[in-house]
Every structure is written in structure tokens, then in C-alpha cells.
């Protein structure tokens, strides 16, 4: 049984990596613009399908991931700049904005279906060799994704802490008006944040498609829930919290799937999210500002 648990943890780390990837992007968007962007799910799907398009034309899966990431990054910036930001400026309430993102997600989802059809798609055999170490049993793809996530997270960390841009981003996220009065072009910083987080979104979509045997247009929305759970768990708006949250949600899900019904790995994510929202919406590592933002 211990072997089973350790294996499950290994899978959990792999799933958790993808969840963390998506959760960080989602968290950054919330932290920067105070918006729960539900369209994120469908944008991941778009990324996955874009990856499929490229792979079917012979492009390497990892290159496809990069390209899809960049495209979704651009789409995300546009989405925020020309739909969400104007609505916020008009004084639209937060609830209505969520409805807009849910609706946009639905529209995008069905546009994808309209073009690509509702049947399941696959990237084909991507797993590669299987490795066994420290009791974990992982495929080459899964290892690659874990490595990729680590690299991206490290990159994000360095960006946020060592660069002027990163400092500007943190300043804008914590107090927009103050940042403006310091001469920071907050609109530009905002756009940059959405570009980067959108890229993570697209990358997460492709990563999901790589790790699942087959997928359809519900891919994004389904995985969005564990990602939101991870983001909330870590304290929404906190990218570092989202990384840890991703691991927790991934491992918890895999353990549940391994020892109980495989269907229940989804339910675990739901349960985590609901419990967090009801008991501690600021997350495990949430700051006071997150709580203030979240309390009505």
C-alpha cells in the first residue's frame, strides 16, 4: 500500500505541476486586475487545440507549447484590454464581470467546437520512456513537464524579484494608484502581466493535452476547477501560494483516485475549493489584503 501511495504521490507531482502552471497564471491575473477570469479555462482549451494543430503539421510538441503559449498570451492581453478593462472602467460590478468571463468562456468553447468538432482529440503517443526512481513511476513527458514548470516558476520568481519590470508589477498589483503616482505606466504593466499569465495559460493547456490520453473541448473548464482550488488554497493573488497549492491539489487528487474511485479526484478539487471558500477564503498563506479584498 505504501508503494501505491508513493506512486500516487509521484503522479500527483506531475499533475500538480500542470495545475500549478495554470494556477499561477490565474492568480497573477487576479492579483493584477482583481478579476476572477473564468474564460481562463476556455483559453487553455484553445491552447490545447492550437497545439494539436501544430503537432498535426509535424511540429514538435514542446515547440508547439511555446508557440501556443505566446499566442494565448496575446489573446489574453487583448481580451483584458478591450473587453474586461473597459467594463471595469464603466463601473460594472465584479459579479457582472464574472458573468462576462463565464459567457466569453462559453462562446469560445463553442467556437472551438464549431471548428474542430466535439469528438475527442489526441496528441498521439507523447509519453516517451518510463522512469522509476525513489518509488515514483513517471513518463518522460511528465518529467519534462515538471522540469518545465520548475523552470517557468523560477523564471517568474526572478522576474518578480530581480527586475524593474517585476517590481513595477508587484507595485501595481498591491496599490495601483500609488504605483501610478510613482510614475509607473500601470496600463502597460497590466498588459504585460496579462501577456505573461496568458502565456502560462496557453502552456498549461498544451501541457494538459500532452499528459492526457485524449481530450475534448471541455478540457479547460474541467481543469480550471483544480487550478482555482490551488490558487485559492495558496491565497489568491499570490503566485507562490498557487505553486504550492497546485502540488497539494495534484497530490490529493491522485491519492483519492488511487485509493478510492478515480472519479473522485475531481471531487477532491471541488471539495478543497468549497471548503477554502467557506472556511478560509484568504487561503493558507493569504495576506490581510487578500482577506479584505474577498470579504464583502
Amino acid at each position: 500500500m505504501l508503494v501505491q501511495a508513493v506512486e500516487a504521490i509521484g503522479f500527483g507531482i506531475a499533475t500538480g505541476a500542470v495545475i500549478a502552471l495554470g494556477a499561477v497564471g490565474f492568480s497573477v491575473q487576479f492579483g493584477m486586475s482583481n478579476i476572477l477570469n473564468i474564460t481562463y479555462g476556455s483559453l487553455m482549451t484553445l491552447g490545447a487545440y492550437m497545439g494539436l494543430y501544430l503537432i498535426d503539421r509535424g511540429i514538435n510538441a514542446w515547440v508547439a507549447l511555446l508557440i501556443a503559449g505566446m499566442v494565448i498570451g496575446v489573446v489574453s492581453v487583448g481580451f483584458h484590454r478591450w473587453l474586461l478593462a473597459p467594463l471595469v472602467r464603466k463601473g460594472t460590478r465584479a459579479f457582472a464581470i464574472v458573468i462576462v468571463t463565464v459567457s466569453a468562456g462559453v462562446v469560445l468553447q463553442y467556437v472551438i467546437v464549431a471548428f474542430a468538432g466535439p469528438d475527442a482529440k489526441s496528441y498521439g503517443e507523447q509519453s516517451g520512456q518510463t522512469f522509476r526512481f525513489a518509488g515514483f513511476l513517471l513518463t518522460a513527458s511528465q518529467v519534462a513537464i515538471i522540469v518545465l514548470t520548475l523552470v517557468l516558476m523560477l523564471g517568474l520568481h526572478l522576474l518578480l524579484t530581480r527586475t524593474t519590470l517585476g517590481r513595477a508589477m508587484r507595485a501595481t498589483a498591491s496599490n495601483r494608484i500609488l504605483a501610478q503616482s510613482c510614475g509607473i505606466n500601470t496600463d502597460l504593466i497590466s498588459d504585460t502581466a496579462w501577456l505573461l499569465s496568458g502565456a502560462l495559460c496557453g502552456a498549461a493547456g498544451v501541457a494538459l493535452a500532452i499528459t492526457t490520453v485524449s481530450f475534448d473541448f471541455t478540457l479547460g473548464p474541467i481543469f480550471l476547477i483544480p487550478m482555482i482550488a490551488a490558487a485559492v488554497l495558496g491565497g489568491i493573488g499570490q503566485p507562490y501560494g498557487a505553486m504550492v497549492g497546485g502540488l497539494v491539489v495534484g497530490i490529493a487528487g491522485e491519492l483519492a483516485a488511487s485509493f478510492a474511485n478515480p472519479e473522485y479526484s475531481e471531487v477532491v478539487a471541488f471539495a478543497i475549493l468549497i471548503l477554502m471558500l467557506l472556511l478560509r477564503p484568504s487561503g493558507l498563506f493569504g495576506s490581510a489584503s487578500a482577506t479584505r479584498r474577498l470579504a464583502a
Binding site: I35, L36, I38, L83, L87, K90, T92, R93, A94, F95, A96, I97, V98, I99, V100, V102, S103, A104, V106, V107, Y110, V111, V113, A114, G117, P118, I225, I228, N261, E263, Y264, E266, V267, F270, A271, L273, I274, L277, L278, P281, R293, L294, A295, A296
Partner: protein, 316 residues
């Protein structure tokens, strides 16, 4: 053709009941219940397990709890009541004072969770396959009579429902609910028990949902998780937003627009569209719906028919 009119009328009637319930919760009282579809599903399932016979008697090809072989009126009442209870349960999860958009997402998750649990547990309500062969009333009569009798039943339920609805949306309680919608704290400061009112509204709204679900499932004969995924709440929400939040006339018009014109209207698009891909017409319907919601929130959030300004005894 005549059958199609019947279908349209029944769908319109059940959609109206559901939209009125959601409007009471969201438009009038400001409760962002994106899990509303679960009350409809609860009503439908309750009706099903009340009217079906025990699983064994049907050859055990579907597994579910219940199976009481009750008559139609009792089952519909059971469906309505179940909707109310589920409404209150959902309401309890929503009591934690969260930011409205956060709350909306939480409700969405509740809706998804309910669908997942029902799908996963095959013994409860037959899981993903859902329930079928659900009995309808008058099944021993002439089919044409059965159809139109059912339209009459739905119509009666709608009229009765509307009269009950008005009791809640008008008068002093309507005023208090709208105050709660505007500012919960201020409402509490003037002595209103917010918790009690929210739960009451979600019970009544849930009852409307349950009734809607029960009437719908008796007509369709089958019900599965696919019929009640979270997108359905969005359709109702669009009807409420487009029609005009908070006022019954607007919501009625909105429901007509969304349920009939759009979701059914796509059936009238040229068949050729469906040869490109099967089901493309329905997909287009959803796309139009989503775009419409966004357009209305952008340009006219008060909806097609704005809330009527109440006047009291003429100007001085």
C-alpha cells in the same frame, strides 16, 4: 408541426417558472445563485424517483433510490418541495460573507460538484446514464389529448406560480428584498434579518426551480446530468439579464427571447448548417447566447424592460 407547438409551449412554461425563481433570487434579492440549475435537477429527479416503480420491477436496468410509483400531482409536489429544500441547502453554503464574484464562482463550483457526484455514484440516480422511462400523466389517453392536457397543466402551474411570485416581488417584502439587494449591511442596520430572508428567498426560488424541473421531466421522460450542466444556469441568467432584472414582465420577455427565439430558433436555420457538422446549430445558439449576455452587460445592464419605478399614492 402541431407537436412542435406543444413542445414549444411546454418548454416556455417550464422555462418561465425557472426564470421567475432565479429572478426572485438574483434580480430582486441580489443573491447570485449560479447553482440554480441544481434545484431544477433536484425537482426533476424527485419527480422521477416518485413516479418510477422500484428498480427491480423495471428489470434493474437502471439503479436508483426510491421508486414509489406515486401519482402525478404528488410527485410534482414532491419535486417542488425538494427544489425548495435544495435551494435552502445551497443558500446555507452561500451564507459566508464573500465578495459577490467570489460567491458566484463558489456557486458555480457547487453546481459542478453536484453534477459530478450524481454522475459518479451509479446507484444513487443511475449516474451518468440518467433515468429514463419516466411516466407522464394521461398516458393511457389519446396522445393528442395527452399532449394538450399537459400544456394545460403547465399553463395552470404558471398562472398559479405567477400569482405566488407577485406576492414576493411586490409590496413590503419586495421592497425589503430590494433593499437587501442594494446594501445588506444597511438593511441589517434597520432591523432586517438578512439570513432568514435569504434562506426564505432561496426556498421559494428553489421551489419554482423544482416545479419547473418536475414538469419538464414528466414531459421529456428522461433526465441525466447532461441535461443540467452549469451552462443551463447561464441561459436562464441571460434571460433574466436581457429581459430586465428584478421585474417580472422583463424576465418573462427575456425568457421568451432566449428560450424560444434563440435556443429553439436555431432549429429553423437551414439544415445545410448541420451537414457541416452535426449539432452545429445548437452550438451556434450557445454562441449567440454568450455574445448577447456580454453585449447586454456592456450596453444595457438593466435589460430590455427596466424595473418599473414604484409610486405611492401620487405626487404631492
Amino acid at each position: 408541426m402541431e407537436y412542435y407547438v406543444v413542445v414549444l409551449l411546454v418548454y416556455l412554461g417550464t422555462d418561465l417558472l425557472a426564470a421567475w425563481g432565479l429572478n426572485l433570487e438574483f434580480g430582486v434579492s441580489g443573491i447570485a445563485n449560479l447553482a440554480f440549475i441544481v434545484t431544477i435537477a433536484a425537482g426533476a429527479y424527485a419527480y422521477a424517483i416518485c413516479t418510477l416503480g422500484p428498480p427491480a420491477a423495471m428489470g434493474n436496468f437502471q439503479q436508483y433510490v426510491g421508486g414509489f410509483t406515486l401519482p402525478f400531482p404528488v410527485a410534482v409536489a414532491a419535486g417542488t418541495l425538494t427544489g425548495a429544500v435544495v435551494g435552502v441547502l445551497i443558500g446555507i453554503t452561500g451564507l459566508k460573507r464573500l465578495r459577490p464574484d467570489y460567491q458566484a464562482v463558489a456557486m458555480l463550483v457547487v453546481s459542478l460538484m453536484a453534477a459530478t457526484i450524481v454522475s459518479a455514484d451509479t446507484g444513487f440516480l443511475n449516474g451518468n446514464a440518467g433515468l429514463g422511462l419516466i411516466p407522464a400523466p394521461f398516458s393511457d389517453q389519446d396522445p393528442e389529448f395527452q399532449r394538450w392536457a399537459y400544456v394545460a397543466i403547465v399553463a395552470v402551474c404558471c398562472i398559479a406560480g405567477y400569482l405566488v411570485l407577485r406576492r414576493f416581488t411586490d409590496g413590503p417584502i419586495g421592497r425589503t428584498l430590494r433593499a437587501m439587494r442594494d446594501d445588506e449591511y444597511a438593511a441589517a442596520a434597520i432591523g432586517k434579518d438578512i439570513v432568514a430572508m435569504r434562506l426564505m428567498v432561496q426556498a421559494v426560488g428553489g421551489a419554482f426551480g423544482g416545479l419547473s424541473g418536475a414538469l419538464l421531466v414528466a414531459f421529456i421522460g428522461g433526465w441525466s446530468p447532461g441535461a443540467w450542466n452549469y451552462i443551463e444556469t447561464l441561459a436562464l441568467l441571460t434571460a433574466v439579464i436581457v429581459g430586465g432584472m428584478g421585474n417580472n414582465r422583463g424576465v418573462t420577455i427575456g425568457t421568451f427571447l432566449i428560450a424560444i427565439l434563440i435556443l429553439q430558433g436555431v432549429q429553423f436555420l437551414p439544415q445545410s448548417i448541420n451537414t457541416i457538422r452535426i449539432g452545429l446549430r445548437e452550438d451556434l445558439g450557445w454562441i449567440v447566447l454568450g455574445v448577447l449576455t456580454i453585449v447586454f452587460i456592456w450596453t444595457r445592464p438593466q435589460g430590455v424592460v427596466a424595473e418599473k419605478r414604484p409610486r405611492y399614492g401620487g405626487s404631492p
